[in-house]
């Protein structure tokens, strides 16, 4: 089944993403000791084949941090950071980027930001959902994004992407935040909102 969502449903999903990423940016701000702004979230419904290109240049290097979401809704949280920005984030936390410490610092950012987002979603919808421990890879953007989409692809040909950017104030540093629910997960989310 290929899912189509109404404008009302997409608005509701966008609002969820707004509250989720607001909570997540507060957590990131506390971790870094800096102000963090968020952009207005987007909710995209795209054919899978087009989803990668909508996120960025397929062969660009990017650092991806993933968390699985399980429970009442199955989904994946994906944070995408340009490697230069990842190095800046490590710097703010006082660890060298090209080291194990750098990687674990980034995974900890993913953990805290992703968990805050998931907890906010759980509070708003009454769902019981929990994140898995994070994983990290720095590679071609397409390879990272398609591996996440493939995991969620059994249910349909369209990908729903809820995305927003967190921008660290006063630095050229931002983190893209994506929530990729599987199709059953989206329906669960909408049902909880009575839509």
């Amino acid at each position: 089944m290929s899912a189509q969502y109404s404008d009302l449903q997409l608005d509701a999903l966008r609002e969820l993403a707004n509250v989720g990423s607001g909570t997540a940016s507060t957590a990131l701000s506390a971790m870094l000791g800096r102000s963090v702004d968020i952009t207005v979230p987007n909710a995209f419904v795209l054919p899978m084949a087009e989803a990668v290109d909508s996120i960025g240049n397929p062969e660009d290097d990017v650092t991806g941090i993933v968390l699985g979401v399980f429970g009442d809704m199955e989904a994946t949280v994906l944070l995408l950071v340009n490697p230069n920005h990842a190095a800046l984030l490590c710097g703010m936390l006082g660890v060298p980027a090209d080291s194990e410490f750098g990687e674990s610092a980034l995974m900890e950012i993913g953990n805290i930001v992703g968990s805050s987002y998931i907890n906010a979603l759980a509070m708003m919808t009454g769902m019981e959902i929990e994140p898995t421990p994070p994983g990290l890879a720095t590679d071609m953007l397409a390879a990272i994004v398609e591996s996440v989409l493939a995991q969620r692809a059994t249910g349909g040909d369209v990908a729903l992407l809820l995305d927003s950017d967190m921008v660290v104030e006063g630095e050229d540093c931002s983190v893209s935040f994506l929530l990729v629910p599987d199709q059953g997960g989206v329906e669960q989310l909408l049902a909880r909102l009575g839509l």
Binding site: M1, S2, M48, A49, E50, A51, V52, D53, P58, E59, D61, G64, V66, G68, T132, P133, P134, G135, L136, A137, T138, D139, M140, L141, A142, A143, I144, V145, E146, S147, L149, A150, Q151, A153, T154, G155, G156, D157
Partner: protein, 169 residues
């Protein structure tokens, strides 16, 4: 040269020497190239998942190995490739994230499913670069039947060398 992008769940075939078939940044997906190096017909499929069992209704079947492989064979044969001369090249099937999810990784299952299909159709795998944890780009040059692979930050390297004396279509 015209590059034809073969994105998730898509496939393409060509016998036109100006064409290059490309899948950029394969992660857990498999880029499957089928080439007939005598006639110069080839195809590329971007396989996302191993099998369609149980949840294929109304979906694009070409994202599944069990549908994509037979369809790719048909497309290449339609362009003049001979089924008995087809050879396969596999790229991708990586596990990008070192998170154990309990079930066997999608990348490994994709590779196994594609190989099983090829075996059933008696098509030999002449080169592969699969598994590991790196993303890869595959290119199939119709002009000389060259197949290349590239990892992030690396250069294109030949998986299948250029053929001499190909009659350009």
């Amino acid at each position: 040269m015209a590059e034809t992008m073969v994105r998730m769940g898509e496939l393409a075939a060509s016998a036109s020497s100006a064409d290059v078939l490309v899948s950029l940044g394969l992660g857990s997906c498999i880029g499957l190239a089928l080439v007939d190096r005598r006639t110069g017909a080839a195809g590329l499929a971007h396989v996302v998942l191993p099998a369609s069992d149980g949840h294929s209704a109304g979906q694009n079947p070409m994202k599944f190995a069990d549908h994509a492989v037979p369809e790719l064979i048909n497309r290449v044969v339609k362009l003049g490739g001979r089924k008995v001369k087809l050879e396969a090249v596999l790229v991708g099937g990586a596990s990008m994230f070192a998170v154990s999810s309990g079930a066997l990784e999608v990348g490994q299952r994709n590779e196994a499913a594609v190989r099983e299909q090829l075996k059933a159709h008696r098509i030999p795998v002449i080169a592969h670069e699969t598994g590991g944890n790196r993303g890869r780009t595959i290119r199939v040059f119709i002009a000389d039947m060259r197949v290349t692979v590239r990892e992030a930050g690396g250069k294109d390297s030949d998986l299948v060398k250029a053929q001499r004396g190909l009659v350009a279509a």
